[in-house]
Structure formats: C-alpha cells, structure tokens
C-alpha cells in the first residue's frame, strides 16, 4: 500500500467530521463577542469610543463649570474688597483678601493718628508755642521714622498728654522739626498695588528770645 492510500484514508475519516460545541462554551463565547464588539469602533452601536467621548464631555463640562464658579467667587471677593476700601476714606484700593488684611486697620489707625498728631502739633504751634505735643515731639526728635511708626503701632490707643516739664526742656532747644514720615509699602494681591507714602514736614518757627 502506498503512502497516498493511507493519507486518503485519514483524510476521508476527517472529511465530514464535526465536533459539537457545548452550550456553556457558546455562552462564554457570546460574552466574549459582546466585549469584542464593545471594544471595536462602530458607528452603529454604542462602544468604548462613544463612552470615552461621553466621559471627556462630562469632564469638560464639569471643569468649565468649576472654572466659572471660581471666577465668580473671585469677582465677588474683589467687589467685597472694593466695598470695604470705600468704607476707609484714607486708604483706597487696599485689598482685604491678602494677608495684609490683618494689618489694614492698624495701618489706617496709625496714619490717622500721625495725621492727627501732625495737625494738632501744627495748630498748637501756630496758636501757642507751649502747646506742642510733648510726647509726639520727643518721639520724633529722638527716634527714626520706622521707630516712630512702630511706637505708633504700640501706643496707638494712648492719647497724647501734655507734659509741661518736657515742653520746658524742648523749649530750651534750638530748633525742633516735627517730621512725620509714614512710609508703608502695601503689596496687594490681584494686581492691585498701592503705595502709601506721605511726608509731612512742619517747620516750627524759631522761638523768639525773650
């Protein structure tokens, strides 16, 4: 017998041979086909590409809405700041949202006090030579500007008192320049920067010799 005959015999036995497939296997394959269809791009049916697009859309909408919300919050805070600044006539355009916020009333008070003192001293000097605010003049003549400001911070609630003794001593001195320098740099967030620089020089008229 030739090899061909054996080959034919084997081929013949497999010719119409079919192996049945179990129902379990069919179900398993059905699930796999569903997953395969989901992962494959197809315009006609819902698949992973549509799902991805939907997720991207949702993320975009959420991010846009969040950004808009943050922006409106910022606008509100700026408006609030402007509103607060309007309440303070001496300090315009100070931002209350910054950490300088806590210093704002102190600065305002300081400036007010120094201005008041300067005005007082000016008027006192013009009216009467003996009504100079002794505490004020003492500080101004002895201390530097920064020290003055610092001391003003500390003693902002202390009212100036007239001390005749001090006045006496001051009066014996030759010239007293009452100089109040308020040099406060205020850095403000949100691109608002205000520099409050105020220099007031008051020349005290020389006292005439008796």
């Amino acid at each position: 017998m030739s090899k061909n005959k054996l080959d034919k015999q084997i081929r013949k036995s497999f010719e119409n041979y079919e192996a049945p497939v179990s129902q379990e296997f069919k179900l398993k394959l059905s699930k796999k086909i569903t997953r395969f269809n989901f992962l494959k791009f197809n315009l006609a049916s819902f698949n992973i590409f549509y799902l991805t697009l939907a997720i991207i859309g949702i993320v975009l909408v959420l991010s846009v809405s969040l950004v808009a919300k943050n922006k409106s919050n910022n606008d509100n805070s700026i408006e609030n700041n402007i509103h607060l600044l309007k309440k303070e006539p001496n300090i315009k355009s100070l931002d209350t949202t910054t950490k300088e916020n806590n210093k704002k009333p102190i600065i305002a008070d300081t400036i007010k006090i120094t201005k008041k003192r300067v005005n007082d001293s000016e008027t006192n000097l013009s009216n009467s030579e003996q009504t100079i605010d002794s505490s004020n003049t003492t500080k101004i003549t002895v201390k530097t500007d920064s020290q003055i400001i610092n001391s003003d911070f500390i003693n902002k609630n202390q009212k100036p008192t007239n001390n005749p003794d001090t006045i006496e001593t001051q009066e014996t001195k030759k010239t007293v320049y009452d100089t109040v320098v308020s040099n406060v740099n205020v850095t403000i967030k949100d691109t608002v920067k205000t520099v409050v620089r105020e220099t007031i020089k008051i020349k005290k008229p020389r006292k005439k010799d008796k």
Partner: protein
C-alpha cells in the same frame, strides 16, 4: 428529532452566508452568533486535530473565531468562505503552538530512504488499517499522543493539503525537517493504529 427543532435547524441553514457575513461586518451580535452556530462544529474539529487536549482545542476555537470576526471585513467573497475561515483557524493554531516553548522539532536530517524501506514492512499493517474503518475520534486520540512537531506536519500535509515548502515556511523549519517529521509521524501513527485495531479485534 422534534418538528420544532427541525424548524429551527432549517431556519438557521436558510440564513444565507452572504447575509451572515454582511451582518458580521456590521458587528451585529445576532449574525455573529449565527456564524458561530453554523461553522463552530467544523472549526472545533480542526482545532481538536491540532490541539493536545480538549481545553486547548476550545481555546484555539475561541481565539480563532474572534480573529475571524476581527478580519471578516477583509473577506472579499471571491473564494470559498469555509476555506477562508478554516485557514484562519489553522494559522491561529500554528501560531499558538509556535509560541509554546516546549514546541520543538527534531532538527535532524534523517535518511528518508530508510523510511521508504520500512514502508514495505508496514504494508500488512496498513492494509489492516484500511479495512478497519477507524473512527475519526480514535484517529484524533492518536494524533493527540503524537509529539507536537509530528502532529503539526501530519495535519498540515495529509489533511489540510499544504506542501512541504509551505509547511517549512509556516513553521519556520527546513523542507527536509518537514519531510522527516512526516515520515516519523506516519510510522508512529501506523504503530498506534495497529494497537487500537488489535484492541478492537480482541473485543
């Protein structure tokens, strides 16, 4: 067979191949399952020939069927659809076994004439095989016992009709190795079949 079952079967067979293919090209689950119902038994038989066990055969079938669905858009409907899907499953089986580390061919150039000489001595056995009418499932059992290399070459050459050149190309071996593997496979097959025939005669 009950009339309802017969009706269902006839309905399934009535669905034209072209309709099934068109439905599969649109990724319609219903048509994909219809394709499976129609061709799965034939494809499973192919997988059983190449696989070493039933579980492997089922894996090959599943993987092969998904490949068919994945590539069905490339089918131009010029040749036979059955031959096309069979080719995909066979190629998948070859790739599957090529990936296996245990899958090795004996790269020894054997003296093929010695097999030709032995052939004459096997004549009696072969005659008995031809007379015996062995069941395909029994031949599959014998196939499974063969080493991977023997089984692959035997399947490709004897049943699927590939030439030695094609087999050498597909399996990445030399033509002489393919020939020697086939000779060895035949010899082993004859011996194993003889044992089965003897067992059958004893019964």
């Amino acid at each position: 067979m009950q009339p309802s079952q017969f009706f269902l079967l006839s309905c399934k067979s009535m669905i034209d191949d072209s309709k099934i293919i068109a439905g599969c090209k649109k990724n319609k689950h219903k048509f994909q399952m219809a394709l499976f119902d129609k061709y799965a038994p034939m494809l499973r038989a192919v997988c059983l020939r190449y696989a070493t066990n039933t579980a492997d055969a089922d894996d090959l079938l599943q993987e092969g069927f998904i490949k068919i669905l994945d590539n069905i858009s490339k089918y131009t409907e010029k040749g036979s659809f059955t031959a096309w899907i069979k080719k995909i499953v066979v190629n998948n089986a070859i790739n599957y076994y090529r990936k296996q580390t245990k899958y090795r061919f004996d790269e020894i150039n054997e003296n093929l004439h010695s097999f030709d000489d032995d052939e004459q001595s096997d004549n009696k056995i072969e005659t008995r095989i031809l007379d015996a009418n062995i069941d395909p499932e029994q031949i599959i059992e014998i196939f499974r016992d063969l080493p991977d290399g023997y089984r692959m070459v035997l399947n490709l050459y004897v049943i699927d009709g590939y030439s030695h050149n094609e087999i050498a190309e597909k399996l990445g071996i030399s033509v002489s190795t393919s020939k020697s593997q086939l000779s060895r496979a035949r010899k082993t097959l004859i011996k194993k079949t003889e044992i089965i025939i003897n067992q059958m005669q004893e019964q």
